[in-house]
Amino acid sequence: MSELLEIRNLRLEGRSDEQWNPIINGVDLTLKKGEVLGLIGESGAGKSTLGLAAMGFTRDGVRISSGTVEFDGIDLVNASAAVKRGLLGKRIAYVAQSAAASFNPAHKIIDQHVEAPVQHGVESRAASIKDGIALYERLRLPNPGEIGFRYPHQVSGGQLQRAMTAMAMSCRPDLIIFDEPTTALDVTTQIEVLASVRDIVEQFDTAAIYITHDLAVVAQMADTIKVLLKGDEVETAETREMLSSPKEDYTKSLWAVRSFERPTKPAVNTGATPVVSIRNVDAAYGTVPVLHDVSFDIHEGRTVAVVGESGSGKSTTARCITGLLPPKKGEVLFDGEVLPANYKQRNKHQLRQAQMIYQMADTALNPRMAIGQIISRPVQFYTGLTGKGLRRRVDQLLDQIELEPDQYYNRLPSELSGGQKQRIGIARALAAEPKFIICDEVTSALDQLVAEGILRLLAKLQDSLKLSYMFITHDLATVRAISDEVVVMKEGRVVEQGEKRAMFTPPHHAYTDLLLSSVPEMDPDWLTNLLNERGVDNIGDAAVGKM
């Protein structure tokens, strides 16, 4: 039987700094009808570029320099634009990372759904709408008959992602490219999308390329896994074989990330004054209540992980502690003393004790200031050092975050990688010599290996400087790796809190249980088993209940 998709020695180049630089260096790929290939690698590995090239599509500033892409015997590299347009949407479809950005905000979902079938002459508008509703039903969207007639902004992210999968299915294509379709979703939503994607791909015997940086996710979806590193193929193997016995060192290192875990610290002495104590805090944005009676303590040298889905009030709690959002009720204590609710009323000493590290290091660093300046400012502000003393202190901070001072002092943030930028964020927080740091999703935007480096650095700094962390995250693997205590939040309330060990051993609060069991595991049977365990209806209910 001939292959559906055959890519031979494909090379792609991207234009930057006035020259063409290689992105993909000669990758081969074969896909049979109905087969699912997992494409995995860090950001910059060229996964998306390769995925798009499989459709004969390149983004602006990217070109195919050599090699062949053959889809069902059609040469996509040399095919005319019209021939490719005839295939795209009809026989090859695409599901993008962010459905919220990839649906046109100006048109109703169903109008975008029927566009491909109608324009390609596959079926009439009426037939396509009927089919769309059937697909929505199959994908377990709530109110399938009605949801398509809404605008994209009126539908939640997880629902949109499923609607986009339905849209890709509208012409019953032979091949679908899934480009990180669940990366932007919460774990609980991710499961629903994964389950429906897998179900529908099996149902229609569609071949698929599933692009992701999450091994555990790809393990659930793919028959075969291909690992990419900086545009080169590292290895390709059948999923179970790849998981049980990876051959290359790089693949093994990817597997190893999830094994990082800090040793358990001794319990806190009863009666010790916590560094930060949040007592019965209620907060609201305008008249919309966000936090309800939130209380927890953070002790010296310990890490409290605050977990929950987006919108659960994690970051709002951080804003209350820093005084950016004065609470409506309740108080925040630092070393046993009540802090003024508004940061404007806090003195310099109170301000320096609590620092923040942000999720997007990209936007949290001033792009026009050199690294040295970025770190100097808080040092100067809080310690009054100037001249040589200031420079010495900045160098010391750069040393602490494991960046060579002479090499980095004069660089701009744009010349740094994502992980390095996040380290600068850490140095800036350390510059104030705080006792307490709020880390707001600091590793969410980073690749696993880089994220692990940041976690290890934070752990080291905690040990040497006796820092306390409040670690906001939605990633339970990170929680497992770094935390001492865990606070689980849902809809602005603390639903459960306690020592990490206690939290990760049953019995849990029902919601904690849902969160924990939703974290994908490396076992390729995990999703199947979980769905059986929960009962399919249960998942649908969870989906509806969440919205």
Binding site: Y94, H107, Q119
Partner: protein, 329 residues
């Protein structure tokens, strides 16, 4: 929809407030003009007695605030006052009855509106179509030619464009009349023919701005994920731009169109003079010359209202072009 109507109501209210502030500015500014009607009209014979008599007759001896309140009260009841120049006629020649500012302005205003509408009917579709095509064929010869042509026409003085058009369309090829003497009782087609040359001149002046904004607003969106999605669904480039990019680019385009329409109502004096078109711009300039304050003030107020109204309409339309506001969650 309650959301949208309350926004519209707010904007309308704000527009009224703006108009009130503008009326103060106009009044003060006009009264700061050096020289006055009395001195100007009496010329050499401006004895202090004669001047003060005329001033008293016209109410110019009253304090500024009183005059402003009288003026404002007049506006509220639809009375924009009486033209000094016409008043003068009556007292000297015993003419028949007062000619109010309104009676003087209305025919001129309707001529100007007619010209503006004809121009808009040509320029707006032309500019948007050119903009869409320029975006579609961006960085091609068509794009460059369209850009260079429209930019040169906007960069040349209006009267120059007017004379070039007269040369080619009225003198060398006598297709259109070079004089636009419009009067009452003309048929629509006749009017249209007479005002075609000024309308074409104005089209050349306003097209570039609108076209370039259309092009830029569309190209701005071409990197968005939903545009890529439309391409990956195999949609034709034309459909991607017209169906997927244009609806999301409407807000800035509408705003630029409104600004240009406002210009068509308020800024066409030069073109009117070239074609002897009896519009409000000429009346305005003549009135300033003879310090005919009521007419000047009324014209200013109409110009301000046109600006405010058109921008308000643009605001409301751009709000309506956003489905997030039309269909709240």
């Amino acid at each position: 929809m309650g959301n949208v109507s309350s926004i519209i109501f707010q904007r309308l209210l704000l527009g009224l407030v703006t108009l009130l502030i503008v009326s103060i500015v106009i009044f003060v500014a006009v009264n700061l003009l050096p020289g006055d009607f009395a001195e100007l009209i009496l010329g050499q014979g401006a004895t202090p007695e004669a001047v003060s008599t005329i001033r008293r007759d016209l109410g110019l001896d009253q304090p500024l605030i009183v005059r402003y309140m009288q003026w404002l009260g007049g506006i509220a009841t639809g009375d924009l006052g009486t033209s000094f120049a016409q008043l003068n006629f009556k007292t000297n020649l015993g003419g028949a009855g007062d000619v109010g500012v309104i009676d003087q302005i209305l025919p001129r205003l309707s001529n100007t509106m007619f010209l503006a509408l004809v121009t808009a009917a040509i320029a707006v579709p032309l500019a948007v179509t050119l903009g869409v095509l320029a975006a579609l064929f961006r960085n091609t010869v068509f794009d460059r030619v369209a850009n260079v042509a429209t930019l040169s026409s906007i960069s040349s003085p209006e009267f120059f464009m007017a004379y070039v058009l007269i040369l080619f369309l009225a003198v060398l090829n006598p297709i259109l009349p070079s004089l636009s003497n419009i009067f009452e009782g003309m048929s629509f087609t006749e009017r249209l023919e007479k005002s075609m040359l000024p309308a074409l001149t104005l089209t050349l002046v306003v097209t570039a701005h609108m076209m370039r904004m259309t092009r830029a607003a569309i190209i701005n969106l071409l990197a968005s994920p939903y545009i890529e999605m439309a391409r990956l669904k195999g949609m034709s480039p034309m459909r991607v731009i017209v169906k997927h990019a244009l609806p999301n680019a409407l807000a800035p385009i509408i705003n630029v169109i409104a600004l240009n329409l406002a210009y068509l109502v308020t800024g066409v004096v030069v073109v009117e003079v070239v074609f002897v078109y009896p519009g409000i711009g000429q009346l305005f300039v003549d009135s300033v010359k003879i310090r005919d304050i009521p007419v000047v003030q009324a014209c200013c107020l109409i110009f301000a209202a046109a600006y405010i109204l058109l921008n308000l309409t643009a605001d409301i339309l751009s709000i309506l072009s956003n489905p997030r506001l039309r269909h709240p969650k």
